[in-house]
Structure formats: structure tokens, C-alpha cells
């Protein structure tokens, strides 16, 4: 077995924290953690440390939070750490070339997509939205490009017809850390070689936004069904009924035809709404001021609100 490596970890959200946990449990030494500056969050907009920072603090690992890594002082600080390797997972800052060149073995990144299929900000949700048959984690050697470096290792998982952005995220968060550990061993032993990505197969996974989550009923039902799953638990697809917003938490393909957005039927099974092509059966909704409820419960208590012929999103 090779010598344990001195690692620097850079990451921000929960997905990254899962990776950090695995590295802290490994035989290697995490000498410092980089994460984004604390951001205001929640009611009261108090400054909240990122999941990665919280985990690092409980393990007594020094935390660094420069607003940018383009600053020469921040670069010098990193150099002084004398790391063998930097592991970057959903950090949220672009690393300039000087930073990529600083650790002896460079920087590796665990990215939640089978590269080069989805580069960029929201690969998990975009894979669900596009109806991809499988997803996975790619560990790559980082270079000056957005998820463009040579691929070291891939693990795959099928995307089920019931997968949501949330469920796929959780599964990838389990797979990623194992893949990263394997890649680190390979790099330490010098047995791992990168495979160049084919740029022509790359798509940019746009950041999600709430405007996109508004259900456009003129779209085909299959597309909307995937969107509902992809955008759960965030930003959650929505429409409106009688001028009030309605959140759609889950849906399935339905039967019938009609003017897009029109309610075709309501029953304990769900609310059938006509789409541009086919229909969607809404099975779990949240009304303003209420909790998310299965449609059966809404149907029992507020049947009159869901009469056939009304139009959603009008």
C-alpha cells in the first residue's frame, strides 16, 4: 500500500459533505477544507455555514472561505498547505489554472453525471428531466474548463421511472464517495489514466430556476411528468387554479384529451389534467397555506374546487 496522502477538500452542499465524510473516514489525511462563504438563509436571513463547513468543524479540520481563488493571497495560502491532491465536489467557485497546478497530483472532481453528457450546474435534475436511462458519477482530473477534464473513473446507476431529482441525488451521493476513494488509491499508486472527453456529446446543465418550474400545459404529458420528478424536492413544479398557486409534488401519466390545462376528471386516484399531448394525473399537491397532501385527501375535503372543465394555469 502507498503512503497516505495529504488532501485538501473543496465543496459546499450536502452532496459534497457526503464525500468529505468518506475522506475523513479513510486512511488519508484531510488537512484543510475550502467552502463558500457563509450565506444568509432561512427566515431572518442569518448567516448559515455550508453542510461541508459544519462537518469539517465537528472534525476539527481548518476551514478556509475565500470569496475567490483568483486572489494571489488565497493562492499563496493554498500553496503553503503543501497538499498532495485537492478533491473538489460541488464547490461553486471556478479554479484558475495556478490553483489546479498547486497540489502535487493536481485536482480531482466528483461530478454527478456520466460525462460528457451533462456539464455544469444541475446535472442530476437535467438527467431526470431529459428522460435519460441512466446516470452516475464521474471522477475526473480537473483542467481549466467546466467539467471538461480527462475522466478517471465512472460508476453508473439506472434512472427508474419513479426517480425524482431528490432520490437520484441521494443515490449518487452514496456512489460518489466510493468512486473518489478508489480514484485516490489509483492516483497514489500511479495506475490510473484519464480518458479524454468527447466535447461534441456535451450538454450544458443549466441552473434550475423557479420560472422554469411553471407547468406549461401545452407541452406533452411525458415531458411534464419528467419535469415534476426532476424538480422535486426543488424548485417544485407549479401552476395555478382560480388564480391561486398550486404546487405539484408528484404526477403520473393520465388518460384523456382536452384543451391544455383543462381538468378532465377528479377522483381519489388523482386529478387528470389535459396537456398539449396526452394528460397528466396529479397525485400529490400543495395549496397555498397548506401542507403537501395526496390528492385523495383533497378530493375528500374540497371536491368542489376541482370540477371538470376548470383550467389550470389560466
Amino acid at each position: 500500500m502507498t503512503e497516505p496522502l495529504r488532501l485538501v477538500f473543496a465543496g459546499t452542499p450536502e452532496f459534497a459533505a457526503e464525500h468529505l465524510k468518506a475522506l475523513l473516514d479513510s486512511r488519508h489525511q484531510v488537512i484543510a477544507v475550502y467552502t463558500q462563504p457563509d450565506r444568509p438563509a432561512g427566515r431572518g436571513q442569518k448567516l448559515m455555514p455550508s453542510p461541508v463547513k459544519q462537518l469539517a468543524l465537528t472534525h476539527g479540520v481548518p476551514v478556509l472561505q475565500p470569496p475567490t481563488l483568483r486572489d494571489p493571497a488565497a493562492q499563496e495560502e493554498l500553496r503553503a498547505l503543501g497538499a498532495d491532491l485537492m478533491v473538489v465536489v460541488a464547490y461553486g467557485l471556478i479554479l484558475p489554472q495556478v490553483v489546479l497546478d498547486t497540489p502535487r497530483l493536481g485536482c480531482i472532481n466528483s461530478h454527478a453525471s456520466l460525462l460528457p453528457r451533462w456539464r455544469g450546474a444541475a446535472p442530476i435534475q437535467r438527467a431526470v428531466q431529459a428522460g435519460d436511462a441512466e446516470s452516475g458519477v464521474t471522477v475526473m482530473q480537473m483542467e481549466a474548463g467546466l467539467d471538461t477534464g480527462p475522466m478517471l473513473l465512472k460508476v453508473t446507476t439506472p434512472i427508474a421511472a419513479t426517480d425524482t431529482g431528490g432520490s437520484l441525488h441521494d443515490r449518487l451521493a452514496q456512489l460518489g464517495p466510493k468512486a473518489v476513494l478508489e480514484a485516490i488509491e489509483g492516483l497514489a499508486a500511479g495506475t490510473l489514466e484519464g480518458e479524454v472527453q468527447d466535447d461534441t456529446l456535451a450538454n450544458y446543465a443549466h441552473k434550475l430556476n423557479k420560472d422554469e418550474a411553471r407547468l406549461d400545459w401545452s407541452r406533452p404529458a411525458v415531458e411534464l411528468e419528467r419535469l415534476v420528478r426532476a424538480f422535486n424536492p426543488w424548485p417544485i413544479c407549479h401552476s395555478s387554479l382560480d388564480g391561486e398557486p398550486v404546487k405539484v409534488l408528484s404526477a403520473a401519466p393520465g388518460e384523456g384529451k382536452g384543451q391544455p390545462g383543462q381538468i378532465l376528471a377528479a377522483s381519489k386516484e388523482g386529478l387528470t389534467v389535459a396537456c398539449g399531448d396526452g394528460a397528466l394525473l396529479l397525485t400529490r399537491l400543495q395549496l397555498p397555506g397548506g401542507k403537501p397532501l395526496n390528492f385523495a385527501d383533497l378530493y375528500n375535503s374540497r371536491r368542489e374546487q376541482f370540477t371538470a372543465g376548470k383550467v389550470l394555469g389560466a
Binding site: 471556478i94 474548463g145 450544458y204 422554469e212
Partner: protein, 437 residues
Amino acid sequence: MNPRLAAARALAAVLSGKASLGGSLPPQLDKVDPRDRALAQDLAFGAARWQPRLAMLAERLLQKPFKAADRDVEALLLVGLYQLFYTRIPAHAAIGETVGCSEKLKKPWAKGLLNAVLRNAQRQGEAIFAELERDPAARTAHPRWLQKALKAAWPEHWEAVCAANNAHPPLILRVNRRHGSRDAYLAELEQAGIKAEPCSYSRDGIRLAEACDVKTLPGFAEGRVSVQDEAAQLAADLLELAPGQRVLDACCAPGGKTCHLLEAEPGLAEVVAVDLEESRLVRVRENLQRLGLEARLIAADGRDTARWWDGKPFQRILLDAPCSATGVIRRHPDIKLTRKQEDIPALAQLQGELLDALWQTLEVGGVLLYATCSTLPMENSDNIAAFLARTPGARELDIPGPYGLKQPHGRQLLAQEDGHDGFYYAKLIKIAASARG
């Protein structure tokens, strides 16, 4: 000087293709009694705004068209017709004063002609206009090529776009975030008795109920507010600025957006602002000074990166490209006279060249925001489609709105009466260096 003569002289320079009203009017206004300056300005702008319609009326009343050497007489006629049909100036005064100006043109024949045509217009104008209503170019008061181009691009919206182009634009302010909130400034305006309301889409924008001299606004001299249309104000937030970034404003004059992005993110590492001519940078410098902001100004052709770029990549680029300005016709009605159909492909070519050159200066992972104040797809969505097709490593980012119309690429804002100017935005990200080594 008679305000009618001043307006006609400024307009004549525009008709003969020598200048824009922005260039030709101020020297004429200097010669007008201060009391009459507002009138002279309205006559010049109004005659330009309605020229396509007024010229068709004149054509019916004239036996032969004007010679190129008689643009001054033609301009004076347009100013006269504008008064008859679009102002409350009594007809006898409008005709008498306008005809009276002809002596200054030293063309004795013009006096009789102007008198005859204006009196005929007074008698038959309404009937001729009623007939012209059938012609969409006359009805909308847009040059025919532009009316057709707008109709082809916006089959559902073109008449509303034309109406907005002919309306008077509102005065919009941009509150300087560094000096306190928009709400606080609104409260201050209310105290000063100035009616205003927040803009719908720009978080820094305020719409004044009535135009006023901006120098009288609270804190204007101290740089707490600037004048900028709401559509242009959207650029700063679309750029997703963050501390430490190096930002390029590639066609910066007169500097409104340069200043806005410095106001929006005080932690930027550096802003480099480029424009073609030193003379255009004077205004940029003035604006920066009033607002107490700093940028590195360079006079150069943005395409000529070898001349001005130091090789250090930018994380953000704003390319507010030279364009037909068809989105801001209501602010510059002489665009109807100065812009020609053949300008559009030439502009699209220039815009494409700027995109190609500036793309090289963008860091991988960086964002380029492409903007124009044009409403023609050839300069906008079509142009971006062509750029994406020829540039591996460039991808488009979504612009969610709620303003404007989603296009095959980017988002188009059409001029809204009482709302924002016509504008176009597309957001591009570099996901890989174009040429792979």
C-alpha cells in the same frame, strides 16, 4: 432664431444623411431664445417621429419631389405639417410662422410653395390621411422596410410595437445601490412632491410620473441616481457578478451599464471598459466621476484584441453591441430616417465579429452577456444561433424573465408604452476553450 427654423435646419441635416438629431439639434437650439427651446425640440422630434406619414401626405400635395439641394425646404414643410396635425398650435399661426421662416432659406420660390401646400393640407389633410390608413407604413408611421421587418418578426405584436415606438417614453431612474435602497429614495421623492413608482422588472428602477430636469432630483449631483431605461438596467443582474471578478464592458459608451455594474458589485477586481473612440469615452468618464466609480477606459475597436487585451481572461463580459437601435425609436425618432434596410446585415456581421473576438478573452466558466437595443431577429436570436453553431465550447444559459419574449435563443423585450424600451439579451457560458490543443 425662430424655433421652427431651428427645428427645420436640424431635421434637414438628418434628411440629407449628414447627422442624427442628437448631433444636429443642440447647435441650433443654442441660437433659439431659451423660452422657445422646448418648442424647437418638440418640432424636430415630432416631425421626425411622424415623417413617414407626413412625407406621404406631402407627396400627394406636391407636383414633384424635392431635389436633394432643397432638403431645408422639405424639412420646413414637415415641421409645418407636424404643427397642423399633431400640436395644438392654431393653424393660422402654424402656417404663418412656418412660411415666414422660408425667407431665411434664401429661396424665394419656397414661400409660395410652402404656403400653398400647407393650406391645401389644412383643407384636404384629414381626407388624405383617411385614405392612407389602408397603407400600414403610413398608418404606423414607420418606413416601409422596417414596418415589414417588424411584421415578419412579430406577427402578433408588430402594431403594438409601432404604437410604442411612436409614444413618448417615460423617464426612468436607476438608484445607486451603494447609497441606500430604492424604497428610501422613493420616500425621498414623495417628500419632494415628485410622483414616482418602482419599475416592474429592474430592482433598481424608478419610473417618474412626469419628466423633469434631472439636475433638480435629490442627490443627482452626488450620484445617488442616474437616468437609464429599465431594459438596460437588467444587464447588471443578468451578469451574476461576484467579488473578485474581472469584467469587460466591450462597447461601453456612454457608460450607463459600466456604472451600474460597479454599483451592483463593489467587490469586483477590475472593470475594463472599451469603446471605439476617445471622444465617446468623455461621457463615460463624466458618468464615472459623478458616481465616484473607477474603471479602466480604453479607446479601441473591440475586435482588435491584439491592441487592447493584456491576455488576462475575463470572468464576465458585457457586449452591448452596436445595433440598429430599433428598440429605442421612441427615444430617437430620427432612427426612422437614418436607418436603412441594408444596414441590418452589415450590423449583424459586425456583431458576429465582435462576438468571435471577445469570446477569446473570456475565461472558461465565464459568462458573456450579449445585448442590443434592436428588435430585429437578424441582429439577435439569429446572430446567436450562428455563433453557437460555429463555436464549440459555447453554450447558452437560460434567461428566465418574467419580462420579454423567449426566443429560439435569448430573450426579446419589445418596447412597451409607459414601460421599458425594446431590448435583447442572450447569455452565453464558455464550457471549454474553443480550440482544443
